[in-house]
Each structure stands twice: as structure tokens, then as C-alpha cells.
Amino acid sequence: MPQAVPAIAAPDPAASEARRARADWITHGILVLGVVLFALPVWLVLVGSTHDAATIGRGEVPLLPGGHAAETYAAVWTQGDTRRAQVAVSTMMFNSAVMALLITIGKIAISIVSAYAVAFFSFPGRMLCFWAIFVTLMLPVEVRIFPTFQVVSDLGLVNTYTGLIVPLIASATATLLFRQFFLTIPDELVEAAKMDGAGPMRFFKDVVLPLSATNMAALFVILFVYGWNQYLWPLLITTSADVETIVIGIVKMIGAEADTEWNRVMATTVLALLPPVAVVILMQRWFVKGLVETEK
């Protein structure tokens, strides 16, 4: 190439080709790194659950699956571990499922109804209600955990589903999300329904609910994962195996290094992963739709 480059040079095809190739390498490199960072721990757990207790007990970290999968999974499903928690994973999964589902459904039901009231009706104290809901955003369970525990235990609800679920069931976030969505429903639509003779209940059932379907699906996914992963509150409120959740169960299985059946812990972990993954996959189509578009 000559030294004197004209002010406006035609782009050199070879150079730009090389540049693009380099950019491709860099982006792919970053992608692969990201995938490894996220996937490696999951892979290790998955592999670990297929070896026998001795392998991991020796301090090996196997990278390839072993041959003990069936027996380990069958054992945890029916009896849990043998040393510490000793609660069947099936029981804990059931408890977690009940908790996550009731929290999710309860949160959606309560928040959509309260958002409907705040967004569509003018009544005395409407802004007060709105701000009261808004302020509770600043008071998640962790912050109010001691007074809440006091109330729940005074009511004799320790070790019950009620005590586990009710304190988590109201959601300011979901209420605000629904309210925000309701505010985008055009006034004309509300008025058209009024002219058609639809009362508030009819309008809610025939127009608001169907229009909120995708939003509800998106929230369902988020809230189910939230409910499934609850840790601190169940830790406080459940002391008996009857209502123990899987997340608590895993923690209880882990003790001193020698006292932990790592293969069983890992198998339990894998099982605990499945329901949230299933929910995400099943609701994926709706979830993405709910996040990116509103049907209007």
C-alpha cells in the first residue's frame, strides 16, 4: 500500500474482512465464556449426582457422568438422605410446589383485583391506597421478618401451609405492574364498554382479564420461580418435615464435609431445578409475548 492515503479511501476489502473475522472471534469467545460460566456449575452438579458417594467423598470432581444415577435418584425421591434431614424429596417437592403455586396464584389474583380498583375507579382515598401499596415495596419479607414471625406464631400458624404462604401473598410489584398496564388501556375502550352496557364486573371479566392474559403468564413465571426459591421465611416458619420445602431440605442435607452425602445432595438439587425450568419452558411463548407486546 502507498504511504499517501487519499482523504476518502475506498475501504480495502481484505482489511475489512479481517476486521470482521476478528470481531466474530471476540464475540464468540465472550459468548462461550459466558456459557461456560453459567453452565459449568450445573454440569458439575448433574455429573456429581450420577456417581456414588465414595467418589465425591474422595474429593474428586468428576467431569463425566458415572453409572449410579438410577439408584441415587430413586433413593432421594423416596427417602432423602440417610444422615441428616431424612425427608423424602417427593414430600419436599410437593410442599414447595404447593407453596410456589399458591403464592403465585394468590399474588396474581390479589394484585390484579387491587390494580383494577386503583386504576379504573375514583373513590375517596384512592391515592392513599396507591401510595400504601407503593410504600410496601420498601418492606419485603426480609425487612419485616421478625414482626411477621411474631404475628404468625401468635396465631399458631407455625408449621402450616397458611403460615408459610399468607405472609408472602400480597405483591406490590405485581400490583404496580398491572396498574401500569391498565393505564395503557384506552379510555375509549372503557367508554365503549359502558355504552355497550358492561358494568365493572363484566368489564373486568370480558375485557380486562383477557387483555391481561400475557401479562399474567409473564408474572406467573417470575412469581413461581420467586415462590419456589423462597428460603428465609420457610426456614423460620417450618420446623417439621410435613411442610418442609425443597430449598430448606437441600440446606439441611449439607453438614460437615464427611457427614454429607454429596451425590444425594446433587441429585436433590437437580430435582429441585426441574419445576422452575419446566414452568419457564412451558410458558416461554406467553412469557416473551407478555414482556414484549401488549395486545392492543
Binding site: 367508554e191 375485557v207 395486545e295
Partner: protein, 365 residues
């Protein structure tokens, strides 16, 4: 089949008055068009009739029954909205039948009415579609269909055509007119488009800042506008207004810095020197008169030419002439007195001739 009476309806939003005592009485089957500039209160009036807004004062009477305190659903009125307001998650059929379903009309009857309305509007093939799978014109028709199937006492339209392109608007305008004639339903139609108003309305209500400036047939409004606002609003290009003063005996008007025009239809009341505003439509000037107009913009439109120019006084004049543009330079124009509109210079109200004397018309000025 219903009559509608609006009695002294006023409306304030908080302290801001928006309507100042509107009176209107609509005969059975009549199509009334409410027209006026943006923000003059047209939609507010319509929404008060619909029951979506409460009047601060006054009454709404439909077929003799006072409905002022009734909910929209109890008034038996159907409304077509500017943005159509179709239910996005319902098919065309469901959109049209929703009001009937709520009212508990039997299924076969619903199917019959929807089929009939769809037939009328050319929607028969689209009944299963969702609104977003329709073009703007088709959505418009569905909104109309939703109103028609209800067989209401009253149709209300709030600028239903303003979201359509020009060509479609003309087509839909004719269609609405035909439908309204055929169904014979008493209707109120809001628009700010004067052509729409003139072509659709049996009578027009020209609104100005919350008042009904004039209620009359389109031709009456064009021929005898009640004040300068109406005169300037209806007609395109807009009427020219020239300041003038009344001459001795009320027989004519002296244009500011200009000649005298004798009234063709008789003297106006008042002392000599009374301040007047003369209104002349662009097509009502005669070439070859005493007013020297210096054109500054000439728009040839084929069959006619629109000339914008100024008089020596600085007064702007718009002129509509048949045929090709006139040559360059100043043109002399005159006012044809038989087409002159005379308004009070202060209030802007129309001044009619005193009927007694009828001097012979003359091309004057």
C-alpha cells in the same frame, strides 16, 4: 326512533367553563352535525348526551324522557369513537354482538342482526377476524356495525372519519349518510371538517368557545352566517373581512381607505359612522372594480384560480376567479353587493337589511 332535546346544558371542569348553556332540539331521524374549532367543546357536548360526562347544569331529554341522571347503558344510545375502540381480543362478530349479549338478546336474534349489519357494511367475510387484522376502513365499519346492531334510539359519532385517508374518508362519509337515511336513526355527528359537516348534516351546529354560534341548515349557514366566526369558519377559502363604516342613512358602507359600497338589499340600522365588518367570499369579487389588488400568490387550480394579494391599505384579500390566472401586476377588483355580508364591527353579529326599502341592485364600489 327518537327526538333529542338539549336544554341549557353547561359544563365546567373544575373552575374552567367549557360549555355555556347549549340549547338544541333534534327531530326524529334528523342528522345533526356539530362542527367547530378544536377545543370548543364538541366532544364534551356529545359525551354529556351519551352520559359519559355529567352536565354541570341543564337537562338531556330523549323522546320526552329526562335522561340527565341515567347511566350511559340506560339511555339506549350507541356511539362510534374516533379511534373505533374495538375490543382487541374479540372477533368482529363478538365485537358487534357484545352489547346485545349483555342485554340478554337471544342468540338467534343476535346472529340475525349481526349478519344483517355485516351484509349492509360489507363485513360478511370478516366476522371471524380480530380488529388488528383489519384495515382502518374495515375497523371503522365494525365500529359502525357495533352501533347499528344495537338498534338504539340515538347514534353519536365523535370524529369517526378523522383517522382515515382522504379518499376513504369521502367514501365512508357517503356511506354513513346513506346508512343514516336508510335506518332513520336520529344522529349527532361531531367533526371539525367543514366539508364533512356541509355534506352530512340536515342541520349544523357551529360551535364557538362553548356556545352554539348558529344552528341551521348547511345552505342557510353558508348564505346567511350569523356572525363573523361562522362566516369565517364555513367556506373555503375563508371569507374576506374588510373593516368599514356605515354611510348616511344606512344605505351603504365605506371601506376603510376606500370606496363606498351600496347595499343591494336595503339599508342597515344605525348612525352614520357605525363600525362594520364587511364579509365577501373569495368567489364574490368582480374583476374590473376600483379596488387595486397587488397579488402576491397565484394558485392555478385548473378550472379556477385562487389569488392572494393585498389592498393598498395592507388588507389581505383572497380571490377565487373562474378560469386561467389573470396577467401580472395590479388587478382592479370590485365587490358584488348582492353577495355582501354585513356584520357589526364590534360584536361581529350579522346585520340584516331593514326590510322596507329595496333599491335596485347595482355593480358598485
Amino acid at each position: 326512533m327518537a327526538t333529542l332535546t338539549v336544554e341549557r346544558v353547561s359544563k365546567s371542569f373544575g373552575k374552567v367553563p367549557v360549555l355555556h348553556g347549549i340549547d338544541l332540539s333534534v327531530a326524529d331521524g334528523e342528522m345533526i352535525v356539530i362542527v367547530g374549532a378544536s377545543g370548543c367543546g364538541k366532544s364534551t357536548l356529545l359525551r354529556i348526551v351519551a352520559g359519559l360526562e355529567r352536565a354541570t347544569e341543564g337537562r338531556i331529554v330523549i323522546s320526552g324522557a329526562d335522561v340527565t341522571r341515567l347511566e350511559p347503558a340506560e339511555r339506549d344510545i350507541a356511539m362510534v369513537f374516533q379511534n373505533y375502540a374495538l375490543y382487541p381480543h374479540m372477533s368482529v362478530f363478538e365485537n358487534m354482538s357484545y352489547g346485545l349479549r349483555i342485554r340478554g338478546v337471544p342468540k338467534p336474534e343476535i346472529a340475525r342482526r349481526v349478519a344483517q349489519a355485516a351484509e349492509m357494511l360489507g363485513l360478511s367475510g370478516l366476522l371471524e377476524r380480530r380488529p388488528r387484522e383489519l384495515s382502518g376502513g374495515q375497523r371503522q365499519r365494525v365500529a359502525m356495525g357495533r352501533a347499528i346492531v344495537r338498534e338504539p334510539k340515538l347514534f353519536l359519532f365523535d370524529e369517526p372519519l378523522s383517522n382515515l385517508d382522504a379518499k376513504l374518508r369521502v367514501a365512508m362519509r357517503a356511506e354513513i349518510k346513506r346508512l343514516q337515511r336508510r335506518l332513520g336513526v336520529t344522529s349527532l355527528f361531531v367533526t371539525h371538517d367543514q366539508v364533512e359537516a356541509m355534506t352530512l348534516g340536515d342541520r349544523l351546529v357551529v360551535m364557538n368557545q362553548g356556545r352554539a354560534a348558529q344552528v341551521a341548515t348547511p345552505m342557510e349557514i353558508f348564505a346567511r352566517p350569523a356572525d363573523t366566526y361562522v362566516a369565517g369558519f364555513i367556506g373555503s377559502p375563508a371569507m374576506n373581512f374588510l373593516p368599514a363604516t356605515l354611510t348616511e342613512g344606512g344605505l351603504g358602507a365605506r371601506i376603510a381607505d376606500g370606496p363606498v359600497v351600496r347595499f343591494a338589499d336595503g339599508p342597515r340600522p344605525g348612525m352614520a359612522g357605525r363600525s362594520l365588518t364587511l364579509g365577501v367570499r373569495p368567489e364574490h369579487f368582480a374583476l374590473g372594480g376600483p379596488l387595486p389588488l397587488s397579488p402576491d400568490l397565484v394558485e392555478p387550480l385548473g378550472s379556477e384560480t385562487v389569488v392572494h394579494g393585498r389592498l393598498p391599505s395592507g388588507q389581505e384579500i383572497t380571490l377565487r376567479l373562474p378560469g386561467a390566472p389573470p396577467g401580472h401586476g395590479t388587478i382592479g377588483i370590485g365587490i358584488r353587493p348582492e353577495h355582501l355580508h354585513v356584520f357589526d364591527g364590534k360584536t361581529g353579529l350579522r346585520l340584516e337589511a331593514e326590510p322596507a326599502i329595496q333599491p335596485p341592485p347595482r355593480v358598485a364600489a
